[in-house]
Every structure is written in structure tokens, then in C-alpha cells.
């Protein structure tokens, strides 16, 4: 087995553990590269089937190509797709001009909490990775959230020998992180190996490409000429820029992500 085989086998094991343990299980699909890889891994884990719904928390500020890709792929893969927006906050005019932390919390965190409650999810699969930023690097593979989606990162359960936390209070839910151990380069090498279809925004046009996707007002493309997967892999091997440097919420203040994630952010 090579490096990617090991990563894949571990992720499939985790996905199957989640499916076995949680009656009400959903997978968050942001349409970005990581959660699209996750979608592919689910197909493999369940031999071509996707036995749970996929959830897209739509802030209505997403880049239009993302929405187009989402709808096309959902149709192609025959996904059970739940699209949810925090309509109330949007009706009250929520947007990045209220402050990025405030906006992220309302449209993403609260949107996610709403949909979790509505469908009474016991398990939510998310495509976060340890190498993305500090608070994610401390995550567990099965990570408990209370009924308000809050994360008690000061008292995380021991996680050893792939025996995950599967017992929890009713009303709480478990965030499952099957690709926590992958890094950005792994993701791209896997996309290449498996030939996974991806939204076009990642590939350079006119000297710019998106390295990480989010809402249009708060995500900036990076300078790049990498217009295909091979070129992206080559670029990543030589860059010293961090992956999320184009994501405004990370730069907002010290420990911004820790604070967002404590409240239930992805």
C-alpha cells in the first residue's frame, strides 16, 4: 500500500464507523475540494451508494460557479441534497459588512445549528483537516458537540486505537472527521489519481486561482498560473504561503478560528 492507499483506507474505515453508529447521519458538502474528495470516499466506502443526505449550508454569498457545480454534481451522483440557509438572518440583512466574525457566526454556524436541529442529526461528517489551522489540529476524529453545537475543546475524549466516541447524551451530536489526517498536497494527489471532478475555480485564469473556497466577499484568489492539477501539485510543493491565506475570517483576530469553532463553526 502506498501513502494515498493508507489515507484512503483509514478514511473509509471512519466513514463506515459513522454509518454504523449513527442512525441520523449527514455529510456536510461545501462544494470545495476537501468535501468533494470526501464525497468520493463515501462512494468507495459504500460501493457506489451514498446512504445518507448531503448538506450544503448556503450563505447566499457563495461564488456562483460553486452553486452551479453543486447542482450539477448532485444530479449526476443522484445525491440526497439538503440546502439550508439562515433565512431569518438573511431577511434581516446579515452580511459581511456587519463584521466577518458576526456574519460567519450567523450564516454558517447558526445555519448549521439550525439544520442539525431540524433533522435531528446524531452524526455530521465534515471534511476538515489538521493541517488547515491550529484549532483543527487539536481535533478528534469523532468530536462531540452539545445541543447548541458548542465544542468543549478543554475536555476532549481520549481517542486511541480507532475506538471512537460513539456514546453521548441525547440531543448532542458527533462531528465525524474522516480526512483529518490528510494534508493539502495529499488531497490534490488523490484528486489526480482518482480523477475526481472539481469546480473550475481552483484552476488559474488570468494569473489567478482560488486555493481555498468560501463566500465571495471574504475569499480572495491567489496569484497563480497553475491551470491544471499537475501544475497545482508543483505549485504547492514550492509554496510557503499557507492554504487559508485567502480566507478573511482566519486573519480577523488572534484565535479567531478557535472562537468560531467553539461555537459550532465547521
Amino acid at each position: 500500500m502506498d501513502h494515498l492507499d493508507h489515507l484512503e483506507a483509514q478514511s473509509i474505515f471512519i466513514l463506515r464507523e459513522a454509518y454504523k453508529h449513527f442512525g441520523k447521519l449527514g455529510m456536510l458538502w461545501s462544494v470545495g475540494k476537501d468535501s468533494t474528495v470526501l464525497l468520493w470516499l463515501a462512494k468507495k466506502a459504500f460501493f457506489g451508494h451514498c446512504p445518507f443526505p448531503f448538506i450544503h449550508v448556503d450563505t447566499k454569498y457563495k461564488i456562483p460557479e460553486m452553486i452551479e457545480f453543486r447542482d450539477r454534481t448532485a444530479k449526476e451522483y443522484n445525491l440526497d441534497l439538503i440546502v439550508h440557509s439562515n433565512e431569518e438572518a438573511l431577511a434581516n440583512g446579515m452580511g459581511p459588512e456587519h463584521g466577518r466574525m458576526v456574519c460567519c457566526k450567523a450564516l454558517k454556524t447558526e445555519g448549521l445549528t439550525q439544520v442539525t436541529k431540524k433533522y435531528e442529526f446524531e452524526g455530521l461528517i465534515l471534511g476538515i483537516r489538521r493541517d488547515e489551522e491550529g484549532s483543527r489540529s487539536k481535533e478528534r476524529i469523532f468530536s462531540e458537540r452539545n445541543s447548541e453545537s458548542e465544542w468543549d475543546y478543554t475536555d476532549q475524549p481520549p481517542e486511541l486505537w480507532d475506538q471512537f466516541k460513539t456514546d453521548f447524551k441525547k440531543g448532542n451530536h458527533i462531528r465525524v472527521h474522516p480526512i483529518l489526517h490528510w494534508n493539502e498536497l495529499d488531497i490534490w494527489e488523490y484528486i489526480k489519481r482518482e480523477n475526481i471532478p472539481l469546480v473550475d475555480l481552483y484552476f488559474a485564469k488570468d494569473g489567478k486561482r482560488y486555493r481555498s473556497l468560501g463566500c465571495a466577499p471574504c475569499t480572495t484568489p491567489i496569484e497563480s498560473t497553475a491551470s491544471n492539477i499537475d501544475e497545482i501539485i508543483e505549485e504547492l510543493k514550492n509554496t510557503k504561503q499557507s492554504e487559508r491565506s485567502g480566507r478573511a475570517q482566519d486573519q480577523e483576530m488572534a484565535h479567531a478560528m478557535q472562537k468560531l469553532r467553539k461555537d459550532g463553526y465547521m
Binding site: 464507523e17 487539536k138 481520549p158 489519481r193 478557535q258
Partner: protein, 610 residues
């Protein structure tokens, strides 16, 4: 070749403040593995908080960690040398966060156990050493940090080496090397330090690249725990991850503990490039088998000749992380590979203070951060291996309420007690382990212990055949013993009568004694009417399927009456009633009363083979 690069997971453990996070921060910095601006960001942060810059801040991402200057939770970071990729796991050194340390260390293949050159070996240095031995991590390197505080003294290093080895060797940890460094000043990190010319081993990075990877898990016995069974379409797929060994399409497999055998028909796949006929350790696969019977998550698939141990009682070493003590006679959940089962601790054999190795007090049970030797009973039979033989199926966690609260490794079970459901009315007893195994005896005696169980009606000729068979095997030089059920009634079973209830007890006693004889390496011949199927199944279960050989001596009512006109009948009226077994047995037909017992016995010789 891009994807064939190798990854090694290394955990850094040790006492609080001995510099684990600093070392890792330094490794990342010196190998140029940090993203642009990371150092500046941390410097800025330190300035804002009015603190001096620390490499540790790169890892201690939580605000609380930076404020208190300690690591609370484990982190994993990646970096590469020219040779390969590393995942470096930072584990907290504070006693309070031992569970986070264990979470980190459980994922590692090798460990750096850090000791402060100035402070020397402290409580958590020892406790972490103990935990590493329990986790089965053998590749341990002791890193002696802060050498700058002891003037880079070789004597100081040697002193720490002598002291620590004394403790660690006692736990069967033999550190591969002691590496002197100063993480803060970057001495002996990437390049050999000029400050320590006496140091014969290389720098940390040089030594890291020499750590060998674990290999050959795929050559060990097959263990494929069933994770789930899928029926999304017309295929019925048994899904799981192969923990050890290799399986091939066409292999005959055994499913334990339900004891079913079948063949692998195919390996399922979704994407065409994943099509395969062979799969081995580490792979998450799905198999389709020839016979479709009910399979449960938690059962273990193996090859027939190399099955896991089955039992409901075993000895284990556990470490406890729970908020409430681990106590006897309370119900917990045990998770071992994919099996979940109710369990209880029936005996606490020893509690050890992991830091001093002193024996603790039993009265209140096993406290948080304690290590103990216990005997565990599960509610039903489970499959496992001894941790020393196969790690992945030899370890488990214990769930108390909602929380994973303990981890344990199975130290084993005595051979004579394996592969059967154990029942006991005694309390405070533990199965004890000895130094001579069944295999040792088999090798020394040149024969395998077997039980040849002769069953049939009274008068069918069991005894005649048994005595001839005993003589023949004896003359061949075999260690053999005929366990005559009638003779037992003058001794071991002198309290039993000829009633249905006592007949069952008599069967149990014969089977238990026969099992012990067989375990001692002896070929045992048993003669017992055992006319009911359930009695023989009971005996077979006690003795063990691989040891038990059933021979049905079949004779007509006529022949029996002729041969035994008086009749000794074990269980009353139904003298000529016999229930045949529904599995294949060796049959001898006694065609007439004057049969040749010698010839019949000869045909049974082959039963001791295989």
C-alpha cells in the same frame, strides 16, 4: 514515484516543561517546514501578550495553552526530510492531561521521551515510559534536552542514562539511543552539535531517518473483523478493515466466535481500478462469501488453521483515565476491534503507580492515571489475540457511561482455559499463566493431545475397542490414557447415580478431565454412552473442536443385548434410544456380537493424525 513516499508517526512525550513543544517547533523551523508568516504571527502574538517568543506557541494553538505556557491537547504536525515524511505528535506532559497524551501516543510507531538534563527524571517521565510500554511502542529514544543548562556535560548524560535505563528496562523498554540536545538553542537538531563533540550518535534529524518502519503485518495471521454487512443492491458485502494478514479470493475462511466456515467468492469494488483478488493488512475492503448466513459486526474472519482465541475471561493490563474509579462488579462496555460487549472486572490482581512502580491499594478500585493488572469477564464469548502476538486484536477500550475511560492490552489466558466459555462460582480468582505452553508440550512429546470420544449404546463394544486402542497406541510409543467412565464412578464420580441429571454431570466431569489430559499432551480415549446429541455437543465444546474426535460405535439392539445381557444403563428406560450427531463423525458398525475388537481398533489409529 510521488505517492510511494513513506510516512512515520513519532510522538514526543515527557514531563511537563521539559520542552516537547519547543523541540517540535524548532524541528519545524529548522527544516523550513513552516508557512510564510507563521513565525511573525507568533512573535506578534507574544508581543501583544507581553511575553517572550516561544517556539512552543507554534503548536500550542489554543489561547489557554499560550497563556498558561503548557500544552493541553495533543497536536499532529507534518514535516519532511529528504528521506521521508513525518507526522510529529505533540503530547501534553501535565498529569492532568494524561488522556490527551495517550490519544497522541496511541497513533505513533516510535517515541521521543524527553528528559530535562537539569531536572532529570520526573514523575511523568516515568509514567509516560510506562504508558509507552503498555501501548506496545518499542522504538523509544530518550532525548535529553536543555543540555545548555548542564554545560553540555557528557557525565550528566551518562548519569541520566544509567538512572532511566534502570527504570525503563524493568518495563521491557530498551531505549534505542539517548540523544543530547538543546531545543532552545537548536543544538544537535539538524546538524551534529559542535558543543558536544563527545556525542557519538548523530543529530535528531539524522537519527530520525534511521528509525525502521514496522513491516510485515500482512504476513501475520489473517484478522478481518466484520465492521458491517451491506445490502445496498443485489450484493451482500461484508465490510471491514484487514487488521493483519492477507486474504485471497478462493480462501477458506472461519468466522469466529460463531464458528462458521465458507469461501471468499470475490472482493467488492466501486471504481474499476480497485478491482482485486488479494487484499492485505491496512486495507478497508468488502468481501462476498459463498455461503450466506447471518454475520454480525464484531465477529472476526480468519483462516481456519490460524484462528483467534475465543473466551469470555482473560487477564489484561489496563490504564484508567476515567473521572470515576474502575471498580469490580460494575458493568462497563468493552470495545475490541469492532466488537462491543458488556464486561466487568472480576478480579484486581495488582494496582501499580505508574511513576514509582509501587503497588497501590485495592480498596477503592482503580483511580484515574493508575495502571492495573485485572481479570475481565465479558457477557458473551469474544475473539482476541494476546497483545504480544498481534497488537490490533489484542487491545481494547473500556467505556464508562458515555466516556471512553480506559485502555487495555490482553496479557493472555492459560492454554488449558482457551476457546471455551468459562463459568465460575468462585470470586477473586484469576486465570494464571505459566511458562510451558500446549505447543511446547506437543513439540517435546512429538504428539498432539487428542480426545477420542467413543459413544454408543451399552453393549455396543466401546470398552473392548477402547482397551485395544489404548494398547496399540501405547505399543506405538504414544502417550495414551483410557478414561473409563465406569471406573470413574468408583472415584471422581462416586457421588453420582444413574439419573438423567447425574448423567449430564458425569459427561461434564469426563470432558473436563479429558481436556486437561489432552492439554498435557496425552491422547485420551473416552468411552461414554452419551446417547443425547446435546451431551456430546457439550463435551465437544468443553474439549474444543480441534481436539475432540467423535466415534460412533453402532450396533443393533440385538447385538447389544447379546453382548451385554445384564445391562448397565446410565439413564433409565430408553436403553436403545440414540440420537445421531448432525455433524460428520467417524462410525464403526458392529455387525455381530463376536466381532474382532482388535481390527476395529486398528481402523481408529488414523484419528490421532491431523
Amino acid at each position: 514515484m510521488e505517492n510511494s513516499r513513506e510516512t512515520l508517526n513519532i510522538v514526543v512525550v515527557g514531563h511537563v516543561d521539559h520542552g516537547k513543544s519547543t523541540l517540535i517547533g524548532r524541528l519545524l523551523f529548522d527544516t523550513d517546514s513552516l508557512p510564510e508568516g507563521a513565525i511573525d504571527k507568533v512573535k506578534q502574538l507574544a508581543k501583544e501578550k507581553g511575553k517572550a517568543f516561544e517556539y512552543a506557541y507554534l503548536l500550542d494553538a489554543f489561547e489557554e495553552e499560550q497563556e498558561q505556557g503548557i500544552t493541553i491537547d495533543t497536536t499532529q504536525l507534518q514535516f519532511s526530510t529528504e528521506k521521508r515524511d513525518y507526522v510529529i505528535i505533540d503530547a501534553p506532559g501535565h498529569k492532568e492531561f494524561l488522556k490527551n497524551m495517550i490519544s497522541g501516543a496511541a497513533n505513533a510507531e516510535a517515541a521521543f521521551l524527553l528528559v530535562d538534563a537539569n531536572e532529570g527524571i520526573q514523575e511523568q517521565s516515568r509514567r509516560h515510559g510506562y504508558i509507552l510500554s503498555l501501548l506496545g511502542i518499542k522504538k523509544v529514544y530518550v532525548i535529553v534536552n536543555k543540555m545548555d543548562l548542564v554545560d553540555y556535560s557528557e557525565d550528566r548524560l551518562n548519569q541520566i542514562k544509567t538512572d532511566f535505563n534502570e527504570f525503563l528496562n524493568n518495563l521491557n523498554i530498551y531505549p534505542i539511543d539517548y540523544i543530547p540536545i538543546s531545543a532552545y538553542f537548536g543544538e544537535n537538531i539538524v546538524k551534529k552539535s559542535k558543543k558536544m563533540p563527545w556525542n557519538r550518535s548523530g543529530s535528531i534529524i539524522e537519527i530520525m531517518d534511521t528509525i525502521p518502519k514496522d513491516k510485515d503485518l500482512e504476513k501475520k495471521p489473517l484478522r478481518f473483523p466484520i465492521q458491517d454487512v451491506y445490502k445496498f443492491d443485489d450484493r451482500r458485502i461484508i465490510a471491514g478493515r484487514i487488521e493483519s494478514g492477507t486474504l485471497n479470493v478462493g480462501d477458506e475462511i472461519l468466522i469466529s466466535p460463531s464458528n462458521k466456515t465458507t469461501k471468499i467468492k470475490s472482493i467488492a469494488y466501486w471504481s474499476d481500478k480497485d478491482q482485486r483478488n488479494e487484499a492485505s493488512a491496512g486495507m478497508s475492503v468488502g468481501i462476498i462469501v459463498e455461503d450466506e448466513f447471518f454475520n454480525k459486526r464484531g465477529e472476526i474472519i480468519s483462516h481456519i488453521e490460524d484462528a483467534p482465541i475465543k473466551s469470555n475471561i482473560f487477564n489484561a493490563n489496563v490504564f484508567w483515565m476515567g473521572k470515576t474509579n474502575l471498580v469490580k462488579n460494575k458493568k462497563y462496555k468493552l470495545k475490541l476491534s469492532t466488537k462491543e460487549v458488556e464486561c466487568e472486572v472480576i478480579t484486581i490482581n495488582k494496582i501499580i503507580d505508574a511513576s514509582t512502580l509501587a503497588q497501590g491499594d485495592f480498596a477503592e478500585g482503580i483511580k484515574k492515571n493508575d495502571v492495573a493488572e485485572v481479570t475481565i469477564r465479558t457477557k458473551e464469548m469474544i475473539c482476541f489475540d494476546e497483545f504480544a502476538n498481534l497488537q490490533t486484536t489484542g487491545r481494547f477500550v473500556i467505556v464508562d457511561g458515555f466516556d471512553v475511560s480506559g485502555g487495555g492490552i490482553i496479557s493472555g489466558i492459560e492454554d488449558s482455559l482457551k476457546n471455551r466459555e468459562l463459568v465460575t462460582n468462585s470470586t477473586n480468582i484469576a486465570p494464571r499463566k505459566r511458562l510451558v505452553s500446549t505447543k511446547d508440550r506437543e513439540k517435546s512429546y512429538g504428539q498432539k493431545g487428542r480426545v477420542i470420544w467413543l459413544t454408543g449404546l451399552s453393549g455396543s463394544g466401546k470398552n473392548e475397542i477402547a482397551i485395544k486402542l489404548e494398547k496399540k497406541l501405547f505399543d506405538f510409543g504414544k502417550k495414551v490414557y483410557y478414561l473409563d467412565s465406569t471406573n470413574l464412578r468408583f472415584g471422581l464420580s462416586s457421588d453420582l447415580e444413574f439419573s438423567a441429571k447425574d448423567a449430564h454431570e458425569q459427561t461434564r466431569r469426563i470432558a473436563e478431565v479429558a481436556r486437561l489430559f489432552a492439554d498435557s499432551g496425552t491422547i485420551v480415549i473416552v468411552s461414554s454412552v452419551s446417547r443425547y446429541r446435546k451431551d456430546r455437543e457439550f463435551a465437544k465444546e468443553i474439549i474444543g473442536e480441534s481436539v475432540y474426535r467423535e466415534v460412533f460405535i453402532e450396533a443393533t439392539e440385538d447385538v447389544c443385548k447379546k453382548r451385554n445381557p445384564g445391562g448397565i444403563y446410565e439413564d433409565g428406560d430408553e436403553n436403545f434410544y440414540y440420537e445421531k450427531s448432525d455433524y460428520p463423525v467417524f462410525s464403526l458398525f458392529i455387525e455381530d456380537a463376536e466381532f474382532n475388537a482388535d481390527k476395529k481398533a486398528l481402523s481408529l489409529i488414523e484419528l490421532i493424525r491431523g
